[in-house]
Amino acid sequence: MAEPTPETPPASLPVGRAAAALALALLVALSLNPRVPGGWARDAGLPEATTLAAIDAADALAAWAEAAGLTAPGDWVSARVQALREE
């Protein structure tokens, strides 16, 4: 990815709005992160639901990739899915 130059004046926000955007970004990220306990979305079961859906999708992808001969059984896909299930 190309690195932007600070000399190029990028679009900017007033500090107050930037602070609000930053706080919102962290709230969303921490809430949805299945590794962070105590998030409201975790309490509501949302991260588990999204995580399980993602794991199912990854499982299906891994099975398809194995069937198609693209990956070997027990490689990274299976290992990643297993690690997520254990977490």
């Binding site: 190309a2 679009a11 900017s12 926000l13 970004a25 962290l26 969303v28």
Partner: protein, 473 residues
């Protein structure tokens, strides 16, 4: 306190709020930023916060002393300040390396005993803030900037936390004017480049947490631990993999540092510029770790005479600069030889450009030059990554062991490496476009999109994250 942890997120929110809340009271504002930076540094090891404080106060006093002197006295002050800064580096970083070399020589000469080892812990970021301290006193000596009267200006310049522990190495002439500008109240409402910061932080996190981590854990660490165990397919992929890993690791840190500094209202120059699309070693060093290569050029290569002299003298200057640049990375022969190799390649390239006809132009010629440069960089990075010279030779020997089937090489890690290389061939203006697109809608959209992308990166990343490579330097 690593950038990707929730602990750092909490710290940054507090620092961000405190910094902007005090913006109306300039001196308090600078002290707030300085205090936050020292808290950040003390979180690694509180004892070394005193080293950072001492370095800042020493360089502040040395620059003030420089301003009051002329002629020989001025040169003596700057020489003393440079020697003291290098002395800090020599003590903490190189003492045992030199002691080991000296003791080996003494043993070879038949002497018993030798120098004792200091066994000091390397303070994180010492190479970076020492080089910034040197930049400050030398810039004042050259009259490129005025010495700071308030000590807080220098303390903040050396310690500004986004770039304190692994760079970029920001010149005094680039950062101090921005710090001094904070001493006057803002003429209107303050604005920050939030979209730009989001793009930089997210791209840095993705490079480090996803690309660098998986490549390291699934391929590079195992292949370099014992190269004699693996065949050519694994080792070639590991060589490419390490080049992409170190790029993603270090440029990822730099991107995050630039983004975090932007949220605090500071513009830090870029440190990487798609280095693997370089068509020569010279161009590579204009694109790789730019803050170090320009530092070495301006404070070492040019004072030695640079390219103003005979070809032999220029070659000597170039070689010595790169040799010392290699040593800057760490107290090990692999780093010294890596620097020497790059110096030799730069000298050879310069000689070739004089003796041979120009390289074929056009797309095919440039593609061939990029291919050759990339492979030179990859092979020299094998030396950089190797734990010792015997392991480096083992690695090189394995690069021809094609009869051995691959054990580590797989589609996933090869795909990540390909993605890391492909990032170098995206349009250079893409991040600016993304920053503008993120800033255009109302702020909740920016917060929501950035939050979702942060969560996605967190989901993709492995639970265990390896430390940043450049923390050890």
């Amino acid at each position: 306190m690593l950038f990707h942890t929730s602990g750092f997120a909490a710290f940054f929110l507090c620092a961000f709020a405190a910094a902007w809340a005090t913006r109306g009271r300039p001196t308090l504002h600078l002290w707030t930023l300085t205090a936050a930076s020292f808290v950040f540094y003390a979180a690694w090891d509180w004892r070394f916060a005193f080293l950072l404080l001492g370095s800042g106060l020493f360089n502040w006093a040395a620059a003030l002393a420089l301003e009051r002197r002329e002629g020989r006295a001025r040169r003596a002050v700057v020489a003393g300040a440079v020697a003291a800064n290098l002395g800090v580096l020599a003590t903490f970083k190189y003492f045992d390396f030199f002691a080991e070399g000296l003791n080996a020589l003494l043993r070879a000469a038949g002497f018993e005993g030798g120098m004792p080892y200091a066994g000091l812990i390397l303070p994180v970021g010492v190479s970076f803030f020492t080089f910034q301290g040197l930049s400050y006193v030398v810039d004042v000596h050259r009259r490129e900037i005025a010495a700071s009267r308030p000590a807080v200006e220098v303390l903040l310049y050396l310690s500004l936390f986004p770039q304190l522990v692994a760079g970029p190495i920001v010149r005094a002439s680039a950062l101090l004017p921005q710090i001094r500008a904070r001493l006057t109240p803002a003429p209107g409402p303050e604005r920050v480049a939030a979209g730009f910061a989001a793009v930089m932080i997210l791209s840095g996190l993705f490079k480090k947490l996803v690309l660098a981590n998986y490549i390291a854990a699934d391929l590079v660490d195992e292949a370099f631990f014992d190269p004699s165990f693996y065949g050519a397919a694994d080792l070639w992929l590991a060589a490419y993999g390490y080049s992409v890993q170190i790029y993603c690791d270090f440029s990822g840190y730099s991107d995050m540092a630039i983004g975090l500094a932007a949220l605090l209202g500071f513009a830090i120059p870029k440190n990487f510029d798609q280095p693997f699309r370089a068509a020569s070693m010279r161009e590579f060093w204009r694109r790789w770790h730019i803050s170090l290569s320009t530092w070495l050029r301006d404070y070492l290569y040019k004072p030695m005479g640079g390219s103003h002299g005979r070809a032999g003298r220029t070659a000597r200057n170039l070689f010595l600069t790169m040799l010392l640049g290699g040593l800057w990375h760490g107290a090990a022969w692999t780093f010294v030889l890596w620097g020497a190799l790059h110096g030799a390649l730069l000298v050879a390239e310069r000689a070739l450009a004089r003796a041979a006809p120009p390289m074929p132009s056009g797309r095919a010629g440039r593609a061939a030059a990029i291919f050759v440069t990339f492979h030179l960089v990859v092979l020299t990075f094998v030396l950089f990554r190797s734990e010792s010279l015997p392991l480096f030779w083992d690695f090189l020997a394995g690069l021809t062991r094609w009869e051995q089937p691959p054990e580590l090489a797989g589609g996933f890690v090869a795909g990540l490496i390909a993605l890391g290389v492909a990032l170098h061939f995206t349009p250079p203006e893409a991040p600016e476009r993304a920053a503008r697109a993120l800033s255009a809608p109302p702020w909740p959209a920016l917060g929501l999109v950035a939050g979702l992308l942060l969560a996605l990166i967190g989901f993709l990343a492995p639970a265990e994250v390896t430390p940043f490579i450049y923390f050890q330097f």
